[in-house]
Symmetry: C2
Subunit: 587 residues, 2 copies
Amino acid sequence: MDNIYSQRIEMLRSLMSSKGWDAVVISGSDPHSSEYPSDRWKQVQWLSGFTGEAGDLVITLDHAGLWTDSRYFIQAISQLEGTGVELHKTRVPEEVPIPLWLKQEFGDDAIIALDGLSVAACDALDLPGTVISVPDMLSKFWEDRPAIPQTPVYTIETGESRQQKISWLREKISASGFDAALVSSLDNVAWMLNVRASDIEYNPLVISYLLVTRDRVLWYVIREEDIDEQTQACFDEISAEDIDILPYSDIEYITSEFEGKILLESSINYNIYSSLKAANAEFELQRSPIALRKSIKNPREVEAMRQAHITDGVAMVRFLYYLERSLDAGRELSEWDLALKLEDIRSESEDYTGDSFQTISAYGPGAALPHYITPKDDAPVLRQSGLYLNDSGAQYKTGTTDITRTIPLGDCTALEREDYTLVLKGHIALAKAVFPVGTAGCQIDALARNALWENMRNFGHGTGHGVGYFLGVHEGPQDIRQNFNSTPLCPGMITSIEPGIYREGMHGVRHENLYLCVEAGTNGFGSWLKFEPLTLCPFDCSILELDLLDRNEKRWLNDYHKKVYETLSPLLPEHIAQWLKEKTAAI
Amino acid sequence: MDNIYSQRIEMLRSLMSSKGWDAVVISGSDPHSSEYPSDRWKQVQWLSGFTGEAGDLVITLDHAGLWTDSRYFIQAISQLEGTGVELHKTRVPEEVPIPLWLKQEFGDDAIIALDGLSVAACDALDLPGTVISVPDMLSKFWEDRPAIPQTPVYTIETGESRQQKISWLREKISASGFDAALVSSLDNVAWMLNVRASDIEYNPLVISYLLVTRDRVLWYVIREEDIDEQTQACFDEISAEDIDILPYSDIEYITSEFEGKILLESSINYNIYSSLKAANAEFELQRSPIALRKSIKNPREVEAMRQAHITDGVAMVRFLYYLERSLDAGRELSEWDLALKLEDIRSESEDYTGDSFQTISAYGPGAALPHYITPKDDAPVLRQSGLYLNDSGAQYKTGTTDITRTIPLGDCTALEREDYTLVLKGHIALAKAVFPVGTAGCQIDALARNALWENMRNFGHGTGHGVGYFLGVHEGPQDIRQNFNSTPLCPGMITSIEPGIYREGMHGVRHENLYLCVEAGTNGFGSWLKFEPLTLCPFDCSILELDLLDRNEKRWLNDYHKKVYETLSPLLPEHIAQWLKEKTAAI
């Protein structure tokens, strides 16, 4: 029991006993339901040592449990050793979700405490018994708890002014019978105000809330007196537009700032939900109209995203050239070395502000895990055979990228060659699809899988996710998955196509590009859409089983490679341009 | 105003005035929400002259309106002429559905009368104001109103006894907290009791209700004293199993027959719903568990369905042979002649009990209407060019069939050839698909459309519907459509694949087979399913654009044709077998 985590849990239990709480729920989320919560909100990690991206804790007086999914089972078992915390598996048939587990333990009479700031209202409302919100509950034990990040804030050009967006939002919510809207998702705030920062890892966001009422706009963002020059300039610009800039914590007085009915985003935290409820405010939780509007990029954003992908394509080609030449020269390279190298190359662009997610640099069996985490220490070293997979992306001031390439390093088995080719066949089938206006991603997902299915192979993740404009690399509301999602793909949306095949202990293949949805014309049968590739980087053709590709698939690949070469070669040193010419030669 | 229909509407208005009703809603449905209501329930037709399969009337003191969809706009305008009834379009963007229209006219204060027997509860509950149910409202004006059909009832072998099915249903509903179930859909009743009759056009069903309680089974079926021998034998057999056989109209006393909570099918009529409500009975409307169970055919049913399709294949080949030879001989044949001829050929089988829906026999432009109705008088005559489409099916005592063939009659345009080939390409793509267990039809619908989409062509109907075992030719809960339907395709389900292309004023192409869903094996990626063709009849290859088909598509077609020839040729006269050999020669 001298484990640091079990000690922390005991401290929490003392508080529970003194307060008469039966259970405490600690979530892995932040007040804005961000995909990558900052260190301040890594409460699950602080209390249990578990570092997985998804996980929630429940502490009772005689039990401590971590709820997480299969991606993290092995990691959880290892990290929870000695903490006294038991693993509860989610997304398995026998799953007992937290609300049900608490009900089985306590019936409906429990007193359950949670940090309402970091739990979404919709999750808190699912809990049985009496739920008490204790903001920043762990701060009293967590001595060196990190502060809320506060990085320089700046404005960017997006092709639409704040005032245009505010007017649009006012009209939109007013038409639905609302008098105000609280924008709480950080990417929605950033989109509304044309601002960016680096408060969140991998996402260029500012931790803040935005309240839009009929006649006022309030931005809850200031954390300290001491504001850097760039941020001050940004604040001055925004203040000049009659937007009130307030302290972040003033969000607790929100009820005094509006009258009538307020629209809350469905991810709103329980703390705000409860204060509005307590104040008898009129409100409703809904998917924010901003989500769909933001997903449809305007021409200025599209052009910038194209530029970002040219920049990223140059970096990727330089990286692939480096990889091939280094291995040819017999240099020893680990997965970690390569992740660093790619970051180095990308960071040479002045537009680069960071990666858009943690690079997956995986050789051989590692690549068989779609969510592989490249180890910093003792990372596997590449050999001149088999497949190396690199799934990475960058945040440029011009846009967000996300690309996966699987690279044969020399001899490959017949199965590797076949898997490699079938995944590319699936990728191309969807990439070259034409489909009617109104089609949702789930209605065309099978096109990317059919070539795999024919051979009784498949992959367990989605085929594609939406991508933001210098915002989150995962952005809704559209996607391309088997799961039902009624949002149609619209011109201006950017979505990944990334089928794969994974064989445990052997290898993994994934081919990923980002695509812009564009109009393809109108005829007697209706109006049509198609995909235009944004990502510019060759697919290695050396191990393709050409027999498995038909004429049209080969034509698509040749056309794509021609575009890659023509766009990137003028921007590359001559010897790399020459190398690219060979890599993009028609098959 | 001397129009017979406007006179009838005026009679109804007198009643409305005397009763103080603001509006009367007349639906085109029967008490069991049957797809083909019998003549007794053709109330919309009796009141307005409109004969379309889908339509509802609303009569107020100063307005009469028919609500129907685009399939019937032209027909409605023509048939409603002089009746004073106005067309209200449904399934169009500007649609004002009946509940909204009534609300706009009367607010929430109207008194709305309807024949609760022929309106589904879920529709009646959508209406504003006070809804009054007047069973058989029109009978007082409708002098020669047809009686409820009463055709001979007989039992059939299905591989599962009534007692097995009743035990299963009891367990199923008990597990969901119910004490009784009212089976009201006629195909569900027929399935439960292994009985068939001919009360409903195209559907071998008995108009009746079945009540299953914890300890009793009651069948509400008897309509007159006078029962034929066959029916008496069937009733005796069923009575001997302790199933109470009661008069059909006794369903009104249902509340005295059970205690506890009763499961009603979601299509239950408003009359039964209201009486249960009035009696304060405990009930819930749900999709009946019978629907899914019935859709998964047992081995005995599968074997019988195979037999039905051999029988039907022989008839279809004889029909196609007759068509070709007659045209070659210069005989004049109309669409109607051909529909009759096919019925004649099919009826030579002793298992034939009737068609499974109204045959679509369409030449040229007629085939461009997916729901074309072949006119009895002055039907178009076939010429030796262009495309003839025949969509038809039969009810055999061994099973239900549904097949569409498009037949080139001579010279065809390049567009006809291309459309013909692309639709077949789409058909084959789905027919040869392999897909993971758990896949729903909407997730693979695109496979049948992709070849069309690539060429910016499409069709506006579903790709496939479920088919019953000697029951309805349209049977849920599964289907293959763009619309979201979460029911997975399961081994034992039978579904059509029927893509098409329709060009107004020119031609229509549709290629339809029925397929049995079967297991395709299990491997490291999971368990797999595929389709096995039930329909056995050649696709005409003479106008195929072979360039548009790839190797695998040609292989599928050759394998299918080989199976067609090998199965059917021993059952055909030698000259037709020889003809079939040519028609099924490998391409």
